[in-house]
């Protein structure tokens, strides 16, 4: 009784399948991209502005403040990636109120793709901030013995990001499906509200963890570090 968006096939031709994950992701992309385009078509800088522009400003400045709090010095550089990840996962969870919709993050494909994006973004931002040598040096940071452990930790936290988001989203929809066959109206509605809450928290967690990983890669050597002669002696 696994209600995964992967199993809702809308169209099939040979081995090309249009399943629920792809269709709902396209829907979310459409809403985010065209919604923002329409709202930002006529921006105003005086005190009288439209409600939607106000909403977008609250969202953007809120995300920027969170990124700055994590320790990234220029939030504007990273807000494109981190803000998009947050908005996509949050909207994917919010839309569960629409009947017939299954969140695409309930499929391991989507969450693995998002985690791989973070895995790619960390070296890109790290090399951009530190240079290639500086970034590669961070892998041998305490001693050269730590090199395999640093690489393994890089891969395992990508896996953890993917499985954490997938597990939370999948468990929400599955609990709902199981409860609907057991109890009547009230309890599934309460679980659905809880699923919305955990969806928002998981969106926040995913983007904050991505921000923390990027901050760790771009921070460079901590100030006041002892010179290497002392350690070598």
């Amino acid at each position: 009784m696994r209600i995964s968006p992967d199993e809702m096939i809308f169209w099939q031709h040979g081995f090309l399948k249009l399943n629920g994950t792809i269709v709902f992701t396209w829907g979310l992309m459409f809403v985010l991209a065209f919604g923002s385009k329409i709202v930002t078509a006529k921006l105003s800088t005086d005190l009288k502005r439209s409600h939607w522009q106000n909403l977008l400003e609250i969202v953007v400045t809120g995300i920027e403040k969170q990124i700055a709090d994590v320790g990234l010095s220029q939030p504007r550089k990273y807000i494109g990636f981190l803000g998009t990840v947050f908005l996509f996962v949050a909207l994917a969870s919010l839309c569960t109120v629409i009947p017939g919709y299954e969140p695409p993050t309930g499929s391991l494909s989507t969450t693995a793709a998002l985690a791989l994006c973070v895995l790619a973004a960390v070296p890109i931002f790290g090399i951009e901030a530190e240079g290639l040598r500086g970034y590669l040096k961070s892998y041998v940071e305490p001693t050269i013995v730590m090199l395999p452990f640093n690489i393994i930790s890089e891969l395992s936290r990508t896996l953890a990001l993917a499985v954490r988001l997938f597990g939370n989203m999948m468990s929400g929809t599955m609990i709902l499906a199981i409860l609907l066959t057991v109890t009547p109206f009230i309890f599934p509605v309460a679980m659905s509200a809880l699923g919305l809450l955990t969806g928002m928290v998981q969106a926040y967690i995913f983007s904050i963890l991505a921000a923390v990983y990027i901050a760790a890669a771009t921070r460079g050597r901590k100030p006041g570090r002892a010179p290497s002669q002392d350690i070598e002696a």
């Binding site: 009784m1 696994r2 969170q66 709090d69 953890a160 499985v163 954490r164 997938f166 597990g167 939370n168 999948m170 468990s171 599955m174 928290v201 998981q202 926040y204 967690i205 904050i208 963890l209 923390v212």
Partner: protein, 93 residues
């Protein structure tokens, strides 16, 4: 007892045990984390945003362990490769 019965028994018992034992540790850990966060909030209320954000990140990491156990138990119940193999074997015979 034939193969299918054995596989079914092992899968069901293991799935139940996995999620039962796997939720104890994270629950205790999360309780301790929230208690520590509350006492530090009481000591320094003006650091509330930092403490709250760190608390949520820490809770998510602890929760991941319970999620891993849940995923394993779901795999055992709904996507069990041994069960599928045994069913295909019996169906092919």
């Amino acid at each position: 007892m034939d193969n299918m019965t054995l596989i079914a028994i092992a899968s069901i018992v293991t799935a139940g045990l996995t999620i039962a034992l796997g939720s104890i540790g994270p629950a205790l850990g999360e309780g301790r984390a929230v208690a520590a966060a509350l006492s530090s909030l009481a000591q320094q209320p003006d650091a509330a945003t930092t403490i709250t954000r760190t608390l949520f990140v820490g809770l998510a990491m602890i929760e991941s362990i319970a999620i891993y156990c849940f995923v394993v138990s779901m795999i055992l119940i709904f996507a069990n490769p041994f069960w599928n193999h045994a069913v295909a074997h019996v169906a092919g015979k």
